[in-house]
Each structure stands twice: as structure tokens, then as C-alpha cells.
Symmetry: C2
């Protein structure tokens, strides 16, 4: 195999990404150098942060350049390796992006053990999304037994882990999701104490009914109307880990007034809230604890997970657009090869 | 002495408080009960939080009721005491509010030692404002040597302590104040590294020049335009202790759009900021450390303070209105009696 089929950023989106923002091309792979491995992508992870990388707005990471392969976490099979740490047929976690094959330094890859867990979980419940939930909830949210934890996108990979970890810690978990199927899944399959539909016309009332003692921890991954409904219900000393704002990612300009930032700051002051943004990388030292705890919780049934697998690299742009508006149901993965 | 002259809340202000919101009356003191002390107010502290108590908007403390004496910290002389812990002539810290005399349980009063420090400092640098600076800066702000700490109202009792404590901890202190006299005081007398005038037409540019390495800690006590200028300059992992928002206290409605709360949340996320509201009471366990450290810093000249003393209880409403728009210069006190 000397070529890769890849999807590059063709232009920067305004608002929702469209077909013209992506271009598919098949090109020669680089010639492997000393220590390199040649990889065939099996699974590509799609995650909301990728929308940020398509834009030049200042963020925590550099944007993808025009003409560059879209970035993303991948699980790949080793086709050949110049480094002794990897052999043909090994399965590895890497960051090859939206493409079918890649050449990467073997030292930057993490070898997975397919007998321990399905390798796709390295992109979800046992990967970056699960770790985001774990580190953000436990380090910033610090839920105590009996407290109320609210999380949106509760059927997704981060939200589902947040609520289930909250339950492990003895807190009450309230999940917010879009549509009756997801709501039922969050309550019945994931075991949240309550689940409510943010699309319901009486969403605010439902949230109030589901949080009779107010909200102690709100794990923020969506922003927008959900945050508006949550904020007035935050209890004194409440904690708000902020790991994403998916509802805002396609915004092309600020919403119309009034300017509610003064009201937000007032609420932070008078309720003595802690609002803290984070990227999971800052908690890297907790990764070992995470893998131990999360593997244990999966094994004993405390944490269950759901994957939404879309077949074929060519369907990636469409699936990504759907992710930004909540069309996926569970951790969204592209199955690139068997 | 069997009467007290007191200023009660006559009506709730809309926007800036006016004369009609207050009423002065002279009434009989309650008959002292077992354990009570009869007090003559010497100093009354005026502080921005009092504006919040005049309003019924939900906050961290109950509002002052119509007809009730306006609240406030006081330093008083004991006229008589039914409790052995206090004797006639003792000076005590209490919370008698805007009045000339009061009857309070002796057990709720803190006896001051006039030989250790001027008793008025118990309302300022060695009292609630100084403690607010100390606990908020050290617990939430956590300035490290070489980091940049920015604080507004820098000539006031909280801001001046914040900057000077930051210097003690090896950080760079940048103060924001209103008008050339205060700016000069902050730089020359308080020893901040830089001081800038928020009224200057090129305030934003001056702030940028004064913070060439960005801002690591912003101690928020004003809100408004200063916060708008500071936010884009916050460094990754920046901390924002929020103890007050004086620029917003007289707001009668939210400012016009666009709604920048989404931009604020985005900044919190991408810069991984911690924004945490607090009232000093939550750090009560640090009071002993504060009194030890702050007394030491005053003694060795690391911390200096300035008081703005207005004579006469009758001038309290006018002085309070001035406080909300920055007319005071230093810790504002009403001298009620000698």
C-alpha cells in the first residue's frame, strides 16, 4: 500500500460546515523513515472539538491549514514497522486524522490489547471522551454523595460517562438529551436518575422538576439554551467544569442582546460558583487512574457505553455535520476498514 | 443614653440610590437584656456590597427590609455591659449598621486592642476588605512568582491589599484606578509595578502595554468595561476570583446586545480559565492566618493603607453614593463619634 485516501480542509466554514469545505484526494504515502510504522486506519473518531480546528479563531490548538488532512484520533492496524515495539498486525491508537492510511513514528503510538476491550473503545469510553468526563467531573466538579449532577448530551460519550461516574460517586445524575429515544436510553440503559428532553416545550419546567434541590455540578459541554436554563438553578458553591460548547460552534456572530454576560458574572458572584474551562490534556497525570477505574466500572457494569458506527471514510463529512446538531446516538465513529 | 439616631431604608432604589431611599430617625434604644452591651458607634464602614442589600434581587444575603436600619460593620465604644467579657470604655468590632448607638449581645462582639493598631483598621486593611483580598487572592488567584496580577479599584481597601499581597508573593502587580491622583498613589505609595487609569481614552492600549506577558490573575471587583478589556488578555490557566461587580450594582436592566455571554464562556473554555465567585465568609478558617500575616506586612512596610474618613452620620447616604461611582480615595469610613 503506497497511497492514502484522505479528506482535507478545502476552505473554512461559515456556520455549519458544507461539502465545499472538504475535499477527498488520494495521494502517495510518505516514504517511511527510521522508526516509522505504516498504518491502515480501522476507526476514526469524530468529536465536536474538530469544528474549532476548522476555524482560525484563537483557541487552545492551532487550526488545520487549508489543504491539510483533517485531524482526528484513530485506531489503526500496523502494516509494517521499522521499530521493534510494533509488529505487523498490531492494533494501535494514534492521531492519523481523516484518512485511510498513514505513516507515523512508532514511538508516538499506543499499542492496544484487543483481548481487554474492543479496540474502538480507545476512542470513546476508554479514550479521550471518557477521560474528559472522568478528569473534569472528579477534579473540577467534585460531586459529593447526594449532590445533583446535571450533564447535557447525556447519551454521548462524554455525557454518558459523566452521569455514570457521578452515580458511582453517590451523586444524583440528571441527563439532558435530544429526543425521546435518547432520553429513554439515558434513563433506562445508562441508569441516570432523571433524563429530560431539551427539545420539549416545557424543558425549563422539566429541569426544575428533575432538580428539586437545585444543581451542584453542571458539566458543561453544550452551552446555549441548556446553560441558560441551568444557570438560575445552580446552588451556592456550585461547580461548572466547561469542556465544550457545541451549541455555539457554528455561530457566525454573537446572539442578539441584551448582553447577559453581566448577569452571568452576577450569578457567579452571588452563588459563589466555580466556572472552569479545561482541556483533558491538562490532567494527563490522571490517565493511569482513569484507565484502572474506568476498566473496573465497565467490568462491574457501573458504566455502559454506546457507539454509533458509520461505515466508510467517504461518509465522514456528513456524519460530522450530524454530530454538531446531535444526530449521532452514542460515540460517533467512522469504520474506515475491517 | 437611651436613644439612637439611625438611617433606615425608606424605599428601594432604582439605579443610583437617592435621598428618598433613606430616612433618618431618632428612636429609643431597646432595653438591654442579660448579656447585652450598650454601644456608641465610633466608625461605620461603607462598602459596595451594601447596594445589594438595598435590593430584593436574590443574592447571598437577605435584603434590608423597608424601615430597617441599613446594615454595616462598626467599631464602637462600650457604654455599659451586662457581660463580664466587656467593660465600659472597651472598643469593639460589631455590625450595628448606620446608627449612632446600639444594643447587642456582648458575645457577638470582638474586642479590639487600640495599642496594636488604630481601631478603624478593623473595618479595612485588618478587617473584611483586607481579608477579602487575602483569601480570594491566595486561595483562588494563587499568584506565582513572576506572574502578572491585575486588580481594579486599586486604591480602594480590597484592591490595594490585593496588589500589595501579590508583590509579597513575588508577582507583578498592575493596578487600575480612576483619575491621575489615584493612579499616582497606586504606583508611588502602594508600590504597584504599573498603574493605569480606566478613564483614559486609550485605556485598552495602556492595559496591553502594562501586561506584556498577558494576565495570569485578575481579581474582579468591578466588572463592566474593565473586565471587557481584561478578558482577552487572560493567559491560559488564568484565575479570576470574583468578589464584586460594583460597575453593575446600579444597573436597572441588562446592557444592550449583542449577548456576549457566549463569548465569555468560549474564552473560559479555550483559555482554560477558572472564574470563581466568593464571599469572604467561606474562608473564615483562614482568619487567624490573615491577621498574623497582614499585621506582619503592615509592621514591615510591605502593606500600606489609606483611609477616607467622612465626619458625621448624616453624611452617610451622600458618601455611599460617592462610593458606588469611585469618589472615595481609600477605605471609606464614617466617623460617627470621637
Amino acid at each position: 500500500m503506497t497511497t492514502t485516501t484522505r479528506i482535507v480542509l478545502a476552505s473554512r466554514p461559515t456556520g455549519e460546515p458544507c461539502d465545499e469545505n472538504f475535499r477527498t484526494e488520494t495521494v502517495d504515502l510518505p516514504v517511511p523513515g527510521p522508526g516509522d510504522a505504516v498504518l491502515e486506519t480501522l476507526y476514526l473518531s469524530l468529536d465536536p472539538y474538530m469544528r474549532g480546528r476548522m476555524s482560525t479563531a484563537k483557541s487552545y490548538a492551532d487550526p488545520v491549514e487549508i489543504g491539510q488532512t483533517m485531524v482526528g484520533g484513530t485506531v489503526s492496524r500496523v502494516l509494517s514497522s521499522d521499530d521493534r515495539s510494533l509488529a505487523e498486525g498490531d492494533i494501535v491508537l494514534g492521531y492519523a486524522g481523516w484518512q485511510s492510511h498513514s505513516v507515523e513514528p512508532a514511538k508516538g503510538l499506543i499499542k492496544l490489547d484487543p483481548t481487554r476491550a474492543p479496540v474502538s473503545t480507545a476512542l470513546g469510553v476508554l479514550g479521550m471522551p471518557g477521560f474528559t468526563a472522568y478528569a473534569g467531573l472528579l477534579t473540577i466538579g467534585q460531586p459529593k454523595p447526594g449532590e445533583t449532577v446535571v450533564v447535557a448530551a447525556a447519551s454521548g460519550p462524554v455525557g454518558s460517562a459523566v452521569g455514570q461516574i457521578a452515580k458511582v460517586k453517590g451523586a444524583r445524575a440528571v441527563g439532558i438529551a435530544g429526543g425521546p429515544d435518547k432520553v429513554a436510553f439515558v434513563k433506562d440503559e445508562l441508569g441516570f436518575d432523571e433524563a429530560i428532553d431539551h427539545r420539549a416545550p416545557d424543558f425549563k419546567e422539566q429541569l426544575a422538576a428533575a432538580t428539586p434541590s437545585g444543581i451542584d455540578v453542571y458539566f458543561e459541554n453544550v452551552g446555549g439554551a441548556v446553560w441558560d436554563a441551568v444557570l438560575p438553578r445552580m446552588n451556592t458553591y456550585g461547580r461548572v467544569p466547561v469542556c465544550g460548547l457545541i451549541a455555539n460552534y457554528n455561530l457566525t456572530e454573537l446572539p442578539p442582546g441584551p448582553d447577559r454576560s453581566a448577569a452571568l458574572m452576577r450569578q457567579i458572584l452571588t452563588r459563589q460558583l466555580t466556572v472552569r474551562g479545561f482541556i483533558q490534556g491538562q490532567f494527563g497525570s490522571q490517565m493511569r487512574d482513569f484507565l484502572r477505574d474506568m476498566s473496573g466500572w465497565i467490568a462491574d457494569g457501573s458504566v455502559v457505553y454506546r457507539e454509533d458506527v458509520v461505515d466508510g471514510l467517504e461518509n465522514t463529512p456528513e456524519a460530522f455535520r450530524g454530530l454538531l446538531i446531535g444526530k449521532n446516538f452514542g460515540k460517533l465513529l467512522i469504520k474506515v476498514a475491517d
